[in-house]
Every structure is written in structure tokens, then in C-alpha cells.
């Protein structure tokens, strides 16, 4: 059965679109029928499998300085051509161009549900900005071997347009998008672990199967007051909630946190609290919530003047299988509220 030829739209900057050099960087998006400039390499790489029906060209400065407008205008031009695939660039090491390629691809995918592919050098800022949303093929820094590089973009783009399975980044030549996918390895995990250990013991290079997390270091700020004058808040990810869990905090993979008043309370009455946390044995903190959130001792310290004041709101969430993104968001929101309330320091109890 003959495969219907793909309709492809290319995106190029003013230079690769042959409008001119830096003096034409300010021109807005325009569309030309068929393949012009570097898009001819795309047509050559496609051969009979597809046809470049249009080339969208936009000046680098226009795309960089009016990014949102430029992308919206170009998406409209792409939509009019109704292609099966958009090939942007390749942008090599050209920064403004790379960022625009990534932004256009992301927008086309989101707005038009049309697959896209672009290409750039590892140090192009467009890689870090867009590799999570867009397949970006790794290219060299300069356009010396344009056709060879474009062939790799077209190979991956063809698979995307046909809905074929996409292989690993190293096999297909794209920058890892930072998502994980289960695959079947050639050997059992046990055999791989023993083999990896032997490499490590011999001082040979080995390829860990899990990237180490790049948790940004957060330095503990210095307390600028004396403790006697400071307002202290209690915060926990151990799952303390009032009976009935009014905020519906999830038992795992939490996306919510609660703010619970302790105003007028010398301590926490076990009968009024519960704990939905599914990541540890909650028997003992249900029996006595102070094992998790020490309001009793904190009140004593407040009474004796060891601390200035106990903040009257306890913040609580469930910290198990929580995504990094939700953890960071909830942490930032809680920190913002604490700062607005004049809290100087926090005792964070985890489990």
C-alpha cells in the first residue's frame, strides 16, 4: 500500500530563508509556497516521502523581541497550510533562532496537535528551554553539513508524523526530554547490577541507568533575631489533619496542604486529629499528634519566654510520592504565607 506523501511546513530565520543578514532581522513572519533556502535540504531529505508545501520565515529580532506575537502569527500561518509535520531550523548554535524554533514547535504541538521537530547544538539556549516539550535533534555548531544534519531531523520527524515508536535519545539523536518510559532491557536487573559493579570496581567507566537529581541547594538562612524575640511556626509533611481531613489532602502523591489554627490551644487533642499519610506507620502519631507536631512543648517555650511567639497556624501536607514540582510549589506558597505573617523561623518535622 502506498503511503500518502507527507505535507511539511518548514520554519527558517531570515538568513536561512534567504531574505538577508542581520539588516533583515527585524522582519515579521511571512510565508512562501514550497521550499526556499535551507528548506530545500528538507525537501531533498524527504525525497518522495513528502513535500515541503510552505516555508515560514521570520527575522531573528522580531521573533526574540516580540516572541508571543511572532509565535501566534507563525502558528496561524502553519495552521493555514495544515501540514502533517513542522520542521523548524536547524538552528545550530544561533541562540535567538534556536529559542524561536523551540517556542514555535511547542506552540504548534499544543495548539494544532501537529508533530514537530527541530535541531540545534547542545549549547543553544533553546535546548534547555524547550527539550522537555519538543524533540530537538542534536546538531553541530555550524551549518557546514546541512544536508546530513537535516536528514536526521527528517528521519525523526517522519517517525513522529507517522505515529511510529520513538527510540531512546542516543539511538535517535535527540536531546533527552526528561521523561521516563518503561522498556525491556537485554538482561535482568540483577545481571546488569553485577556487571556494573565489576566495571566500577575495575575503575572502568560505567553508565548508571538513573540520572542523579539536580536538587538545587538551598542554604539555611540565618535567624536575624534572638530566639526570645522570634515568631516560630510549625510545619510538617507528616500528614497531620483535623478529623475528617477537610482539605482532602491525598494519602500519597499530594497536591494540597492545609493551614490549621492552633489559636487558644495548649496542645493537640488526639481525638480531634487524624492522619491519612500512606508512607509510614502512623499508629504512634495518631495516638499522640505531638510526636509529629510538638505544639505542647512549643507552648511551654512560648510561656517561659524561650521563644517570642508560636505562630498560630500549623501548615501540613503528606510527603510521600509527592512530585518534585508539587513539593516546590507547596513549599514556596507556604513560605510566602509565613513571611507575610511575620514568621521568623520554622520547625519543619518530616517522617
Amino acid at each position: 500500500m502506498a503511503v500518502k506523501p507527507m505535507q511539511v511546513v518548514c520554519y527558517l530565520n531570515q538568513f536561512f530563508g534567504q531574505l538577508g543578514g542581520e539588516e533583515k532581522a527585524g522582519v515579521g513572519p511571512q510565508v512562501v509556497d514550497g521550499a526556499v533556502g535551507a528548506a530545500r535540504a528538507v525537501q531533498q531529505a524527504l525525497g518522495d516521502a513528502g513535500m515541503v508545501v510552505a516555508t515560514v520565515i521570520c527575522g531573528d529580532n522580531y521573533a526574540a523581541e516580540q516572541a508571543e506575537r511572532a509565535v501566534a502569527e507563525m502558528v496561524a500561518l502553519v495552521a493555514a497550510a495544515r501540514p502533517d509535520l513542522v520542521v523548524a531550523g536547524p538552528a545550530f548554535l544561533a541562540g535567538r533562532y534556536g529559542v524561536a524554533c523551540g517556542a514555535l514547535c511547542a506552540a504548534v504541538q499544543a495548539a494544532l496537535k501537529i508533530p514537530t521537530v527541530t535541531g540545534m547544538h547542545a549549547e543553544n539556549p533553546g535546548v534547555e528551554l524547550h527539550r522537555r516539550q519538543v524533540y530537538i535533534v542534536q546538531t553541530s555548531a555550524e551549518a557546514a553539513r546541512m544536508l546530513d544534519e537535516v536528514k536526521r531531523l527528517v528521519a525523526l520527524g517522519t517517525k513522529l508524523a507517522r505515529g511510529e515508536a520513538i527510540g531512546a535519545p542516543t539511538a535517535e539523536g535527540y536531546f533527552a526530554r526528561g521523561v521516563t518510559r518503561n522498556v525491556v532491557a537485554g538482561a535482568s536487573a540483577a545481571d546488569r547490577a553485577v556487571a556494573m559493579l565489576l566495571e566500577k570496581l575495575a575503575g572502568r567507566p560505567f553508565a548508571s541507568e538513573v540520572p542523579r537529581p539536580a536538587f538545587p541547594p538551598v542554604a539555611a538562612p540565618r535567624l536575624v533575631k534572638t530566639l526570645e524575640g522570634a515568631t516560630i511556626a510549625l510545619v510538617t509533611d507528616g500528614g497531620l489533619v483535623p478529623k475528617g481531613n477537610p482539605d482532602g489532602i491525598e494519602a500519597l502523591n499530594a497536591t494540597r496542604y492545609g493551614a490549621y489554627s492552633i489559636e487558644g490551644k495548649a496542645g493537640l487533642d488526639a481525638a480531634q486529629y487524624d492522619n491519612p499519610h500512606r508512607g509510614y506507620d502512623t499508629t504512634w502519631v495518631k495516638q499522640d499528634p505531638h510526636r509529629l507536631v510538638p505544639v505542647d512543648v512549643a507552648r511551654e517555650l512560648e510561656q517561659s519566654g524561650a521563644i517570642g511567639k508560636l505562630h498560630e497556624t500549623v501548615y501540613s501536607t503528606v510527603g510521600v510520592a509527592t512530585t518534585l514540582a508539587h513539593s516546590a510549589r507547596m513549599g514556596a506558597e507556604i513560605a510566602e504565607k509565613l513571611r507575610a505573617a511575620g514568621v521568623d523561623a520554622v520547625i519543619l518535622t518530616s517522617t
Partner: protein, 420 residues
């Protein structure tokens, strides 16, 4: 210590009386076996089903899988849980290949966490149990039976069945005999003294939930206050270690056929010297975790004198960090490590794969993401989960974690998460 596993391969399993092995055909007297299991007053309404590879059948409510084994000489069957407390790992043990005993859990209402086994279709190839003839035990709790007692009874029924089936090979000439012989750890022949000494640190339980009184895990002990201890690898292979009741991506079957111990035995005397096994539990509190980590590392570095160590975990996130803390302690003592982890990300992002970042703990193998979705295709028959049959018969979505045997945290499986 020397253990011989005397393997009889089974290619066909049929219901017939009496229970016996005829060549490669295992005949099971289902009525007699039901009578044997019905003696436990904690269970009622016992049902036994035979399912076969290639059959368009889905087993539901899977609780644990046990490999048929029976001692021929040299010890007790599943010591401390079924048999009396006695040393395991020596003598001869009968083993049936191609057969597994599947225990189901008919009590829990939390159906989202229940595992399935597919006997045909793409998922059958992902699990060892899609390729075995499976005897499925369904048993209901007798009135008044508590959860922990019920699970203990279900597991005991599976162990009894595993022994009963393997005993049929008593008179048979084994198809092959696997020999596991490891001399005392320090006694290295001079010509092999150059080999790196490698230990395995086996986390056998996680105290994220307390064990029941009858939840025997190490020689029948519920390991409640267990500190790291050294065992001979043969003990693990011979029934001394069983999975706890809240096992996640781990079966007793995988422990009985322990892939890491086999891998280390396979390299022993060739590329490494298998220095021994340290069993640990994941602890519930920080002081316990720190204590356990340095005690385990001390056994590895100072007692076993290992140059390298490989780690596996059990359970979820806390055991994952617990394991890494012990590995970090080993690295601090100069012992090189690799560890087998799950992809812990709950949103499929690579940045969430790992919950730790310790110096030197940089050689990681992964057994995939248990959260990733897969499709369960439609089947003709559902066994072990009558109440869920309407849902489990048709095409439905599930996670890798709910496909029993697709991910074994001890490392017998080939599924891995790749960063894309």
C-alpha cells in the same frame, strides 16, 4: 555449605488422582489438596484452579507466588513458617520447573492495589508467571478472622501446596541438578585471591507498616527489631526468607530463585569472589535507619572484607532512601556499590526518579516505573477474582506495578525505565 536443587521440568499440569509426577506431566488430585488446605480453621470456601500458558486467562487478586519446593534431605520445608525452625541451605531440595503456586487475596476491598497475571497476550511475556502452569488458590476468611491471620493462612496454604507438588518428584530422576556451594567467606584459594570480594545486601522487609505476629519473614521471625545480619546465600534460596504480607513488586517466588544470588554465584571464582549476604530491614525512624546503615556497612566492610557490594530494596520510598544510606556508608568505608532502584517518579519525569543523592552512590540499575500505565487486553476467563470479573474480562488499563512479576525489586526482571 552445599545445596543441591534437583529440578524436574513440568510441561503439563492436569487434574487427576492421585497427585503424582508422570514424566513431565504433573497430575494434581484437586479434591485431596483442597481437603489438606481446608484443615486450617481460618479459611473457608477453598477453590483451586489450574491455568496454563497461552490460555486467554487473567488471574486477579494475586497476593503472592510460591515456587514448588520440598526438602529431600537436610532440613525443613520453609523453616519457621511451615516446618520447624531449622537451618536451611544444605542438602537436597526438590524443585519443579514450569509450575507456580499463586495465592490470591479475597478479603481486601482495596482492589486498586491488587495484582494480576496474564496468561496470554503481550503482558504474559513481561512476567515469569505468564509462562508457568499456575495452580491458583482462592480462599475466603472464616468468620471472625482478622486481616493478618487471614493473610498468614493464605500464605501457609500456598507453602503447603508448593511442598505437596514438589514432593511428587521424590522418586523422579531430576532433569538437572544445580549445585550451590560456597566455602566460608575468608577461605579464598591463593590463586583466586586477586578477585574482588563482593557482598550482597538484601533488604527483606520494610517497616513502613508493622508486621503481624504470624508474618514470618526470616525463619519465621517477623523481623520487628531485626538488625543487619549475615546469612549464607543458600539459606535464601532454600526457603529461609519469605516475602512479607505487604510486598510490592516482589514475590516469594523471586526470592526462592533469587536472581542476585544466582548472578553472584555465576561470577563466583571467575570475575569476583562472592563474600556473602547481609539481610537488612528498612527502618521506620531516623535513629534506627542510621544505626542499621552503619551496622550493615560494617558487616560488609569489616567482617566480610568486601571490596564491592550490590544492594536491592523492597517496598517504596523510605526503603529506597534506607538502602542508599547503607550504600553511602559502604562507599565511605571504601566499598564500591551498585544499587537496584525503582523509578520513583510519580509523574513520569526523570527528575523525580531518585529520592536521594549521596556521595559515591552513583551506579544505579533500575527495574522500571511501577506507576507507568499499560493495557490489559480482553480475556476469555478470569480466575481468582470472581467479584472483579466484569472489569477484568474486558480491556482495561493498569500499571506495571499491578502486573505481578513484571517488576521484581530483587532484580529478576528486564523491565527498566529509560530516560527519553
Amino acid at each position: 555449605m552445599r545445596l543441591e536443587l534437583c529440578w524436574s521440568d513440568v510441561e503439563e499440569v492436569v487434574a487427576a488422582s492421585p497427585t503424582r509426577l508422570v514424566g513431565k506431566r504433573l497430575e494434581v488430585d484437586v479434591e485431596a489438596l483442597r481437603a489438606l488446605l481446608s484443615a486450617d480453621p481460618r479459611l473457608t470456601g477453598i477453590r483451586l484452579d489450574l491455568v496454563h500458558p497461552g490460555e486467554r486467562c487473567r488471574i486477579g487478586r494475586v497476593f503472592d507466588v510460591v515456587a514448588p519446593r520440598a526438602k529431600l534431605d537436610g532440613g525443613e520445608d520453609f523453616p519457621g513458617v511451615l516446618g520447624g525452625v531449622a537451618k536451611a541451605g544444605h542438602g537436597r531440595t526438590l524443585a519443579l520447573g514450569g509450575v507456580a503456586v499463586v495465592a490470591t487475596d479475597q478479603q481486601t476491598a482495596s482492589v486498586g492495589t491488587l495484582a494480576v497475571i496474564d496468561m496470554a497476550g503481550p503482558n504474559a511475556a513481561l512476567s515469569a508467571f505468564g509462562a508457568t502452569h499456575n495452580l491458583v488458590i482462592s480462599a475466603w476468611p472464616a468468620p471472625g478472622t482478622e486481616r493478618s491471620d487471614y493473610l498468614a493462612a493464605v500464605r501457609l496454604a500456598a507453602l503447603k501446596t508448593a511442598v505437596r507438588l514438589a514432593q511428587t518428584a521424590r522418586e523422579a530422576e531430576p532433569n538437572r541438578v544445580e549445585i550451590f556451594a560456597l566455602p566460608p567467606s575468608p577461605r579464598v584459594p591463593p590463586e583466586l585471591a586477586h578477585l574482588p570480594r563482593v557482598a550482597y545486601i538484601f533488604q527483606i522487609h520494610s517497616h513502613q507498616r508493622p508486621t503481624g505476629l504470624d508474618e514470618g519473614i526470616l525463619y519465621g521471625d517477623p523481623v520487628r527489631r531485626m538488625l543487619p545480619t549475615i546469612v549464607h546465600p543458600n539459606e535464601v534460596l532454600d526457603g529461609a526468607v519469605l516475602r512479607g504480607f505487604m510486598g510490592r513488586s516482589v514475590t516469594t517466588w523471586a526470592t526462592q530463585n533469587h536472581p542476585m544470588i544466582r548472578a553472584l554465584y555465576a561470577q563466583h571464582g571467575r570475575t569476583l569472589w562472592f563474600a556473602g549476604v547481609v539481610v537488612t530491614v528498612a527502618q521506620a525512624t531516623e535513629p534506627e535507619r542510621v544505626r542499621s546503615a552503619f551496622l550493615a556497612a560494617g558487616l560488609v566492610a569489616h567482617t566480610l572484607g568486601a571490596d564491592g557490594a550490590v544492594f536491592t530494596k523492597i517496598g517504596g520510598g523510605a526503603p529506597h532512601v534506607d538502602m542508599a544510606q547503607a550504600a553511602a556508608q559502604c562507599e565511605a568505608l571504601g566499598v564500591k556499590t551498585t544499587a537496584v532502584v525503582e523509578d520513583m517518579s510519580t509523574d513520569g519525569s526523570a527528575e523525580g526518579m531518585l529520592l536521594f543523592d549521596f556521595p559515591g552512590v552513583d551506579a544505579l540499575v533500575n527495574v522500571g516505573s511501577s506507576q507507568e500505565l499499560l493495557t490489559l487486553p480482553a480475556m476469555d476467563r478470569v480466575v481468582g477474582a470472581d467479584d472483579l470479573a466484569p472489569r477484568l474480562l474486558g480491556e482495561t488499563r493498569a500499571t506495571y506495578g499491578t502486573l505481578c512479576g513484571a517488576i521484581e525489586q530483587v532484580g529478576s526482571t528486564r523491565v527498566m525505565a529509560e530516560v527519553r
